[in-house]
Amino acid sequence: MSAKIYDVVIVGAGIVGAACAHECSQSGLRVAVIDQDVIGGGATAAGMGHIVVMDDSDAQFALTRYSQTLWQELRPELPEDVEYEQCGTIWVATDEEEMTEVLRKHAYYSRQGVSVEVLNPGDIERLEPNLRKGMVGGLLVPDDGVLYPPCAARFLMDQAQGRGVTLHLQQTVAQIGKGQLHLADGTRFSSATIVNAAGTWASALTPGIAVKKRKGHLVITDRYPGFVRHQLVELGYLKSAHSVTADSVAFNVQPRQTGQLLIGSSRQYGPEHKEVDPHVLGRMLERAQHYLPALAKTSAIRVWTGFRAATPDKLPLIGPWPSDPSIYLATGHEGLGITTSLATAKLLVDQITGRTSAIPYEPYLPSRSATLEHAHA
């Protein structure tokens, strides 16, 4: 069987693979996308779908901010079912120590030109009457938003397909390397560049990548329009999301455009099974009810789990894989894949085509991986 020839073959039709296909096709490249399941069926379907600016590190800030700008530019084109809602984020401070963090964040975001506002207890009560009384304050990030990821991935893929990208779903990739990709059924693809955007499965195709599964639980309720109006996040979220070892839960609730409440979050290394862990779920919901007492009486209609593709330094892997320059990585986005998908695609195609990039891509290069492996151990 002769090989199908492309400029770029992308493994993974999640939000990152779809964004890469979208960007490649805009640059006139001949592209094929392959996925073992459906569009957006992995972490994309399982995630919360926030479009947020985060400042765990300067590099994370640069990437999330760049990507949020790209989403805002794309917004007029997004169909209704993507449910993009610029609800803003409120980081909630429960004590003076957390309030110090609010002020630090405020200074950092302001310095970088991101609109932010410090909230006092009265503001919080007015903006989010269902939050427990006695909050010390908070930080409002008005440009943050949420969307419905599976439809966002499908939109990007539809656009790409409209420009000639071919999509191969429910196909198992047996191996990639040296400009070749083999499907389990024997089909071969030949391509100068193979993008591994397989999320948590990336390391199965490219052994040695410092990506680990990090399990999460989410709960969605029936419709309660106006119950919360912004994405609400506790400041402890930073700390628990930071920890690379312990299981943790944190308060994170989103108002969906449907009026439903999406309740998170949990982070666990280790479990490989998709089953709901009742202890983790219980802790997560206890945390959420601690912040939003009236949540107790709302009706939860679904619970699910998913796996984030996590790297030790909380930054994705975007760029060529040192041991095989035909392989480019676009994975390791952990909980920020929806936000950073568009920027990832830009930086990836910048590198493939030699374009000048809007922000430096060096912090995300997989060549830093040797040190990362060490960090994981």
Binding site: T94, G282, L285, T298, A300
Partner: protein, 433 residues
Amino acid sequence: MANARKHFDVLVVGGGPAGLAAAVSAAEHGARVGLVDDNPALGGQIWRAGVVGHGPGAARWIQRLEATGIEILCGTRVFDSPTQNSLHAEIESGLLELNYQKLVLATGARERFLPFPGWTIPNVMGAGALQALVKSGFPVSDKRVVVAGTGPLLLAVAAYLREHGAKIELICEQASLASLALFAVSILKLRDKITQGLSLRKELAGVRFVAGSWPVTAEGDGALTAVVVSHGQKLEKIACDFLACGFLLVPNTVLPALLGCRLQNGFVEVDRYQQTSVGGIYCAGEPTGIGGVDLSLIEGQVAGSAAAGHAEASRSLFGERRKLQRFSQALDRAFALRSELRGIALPETIVCRCEDVTYERLKPYTSWRNAKLQSRCGMGPCQGRVCGPATEFLLGWSPDSVRPPVFPVRVENLGAMVRDLVPQDSELLRGPQ
């Protein structure tokens, strides 16, 4: 909040005929039995008590039930099984943890609804639903009702509604006259069934019954005013206040599936003692095969006796069970859904009522999961219990894997898994860590 923990030798889920029989049999063998049901009263759908109390069929079993000291838990909704030999259920005031040695699942069946233009208009409802509404006190006298769909349930409902003063304008049976005739011949050997049929014939005397006929459009702005039915070649419009329809029954297998019980062709697989593929878990009634009250009662007795450790006590019922199973197979053949019913949903017809997803939005997808992710079909509070069987028939999709909670549940009770079961090791993450 009244969270509580209860322990039973035998726990029965479902208070319809199968569950009642199972609970009574297990208790009469000396087991400590709990009987759980989501509905406000026992009886299931077929023996719903409503405002006038139970009929004679149910009363006999409920009398036996009351003589045994079984703990009855109505208004109790099982939503999860967080650990082995334990179920979590929600009640009005909180959470129940129900621990058991043996479990009997008698979760019954629901009606299959097929989408057609107008089926979402108020007063188009399930045949069983309209009957339940009347049993629960809704005055149906002088209301004009069309009964449509398939199966013997239609006749029973029509007879009931008529007895309560409704004007039955038409009974539409989608099965052809030929297959009904074959069915009549095939059940000749079952004397009591024939008697039942004859008695209904008396109650339905003068009511128009058309075989090979099905609803194609319901009309009305805000409430139903008329229904258009197809008699195959020609259409007929009938003014009415209610359309009661149902296209056979679908077994409720979500809880058995959650517990790991093996299903075959959509039904729970059981051995001769009604034990499922999971040791200590039994299943009786419609989830093992749609068979009606008599078969459910027998299966319930077999399951209840076996769960109480007296498996052989019910051997004498095996013969009758076989006979009734043959009857139900004949029923399946006679009332198989005709392929024309796949054509009654138009592109703009809503299929998923929770999320208002139309037929045309589902057609591009190849699987239930893909359609769910992209269109939200099945993502609402019914968790696909209505649109799942419809898309199974229309598009051949098979259902997703089952995840807890198997019913919507208050957040406080979903979270209470930890609060009550693991008291100390769940301290909150506080502030900066």
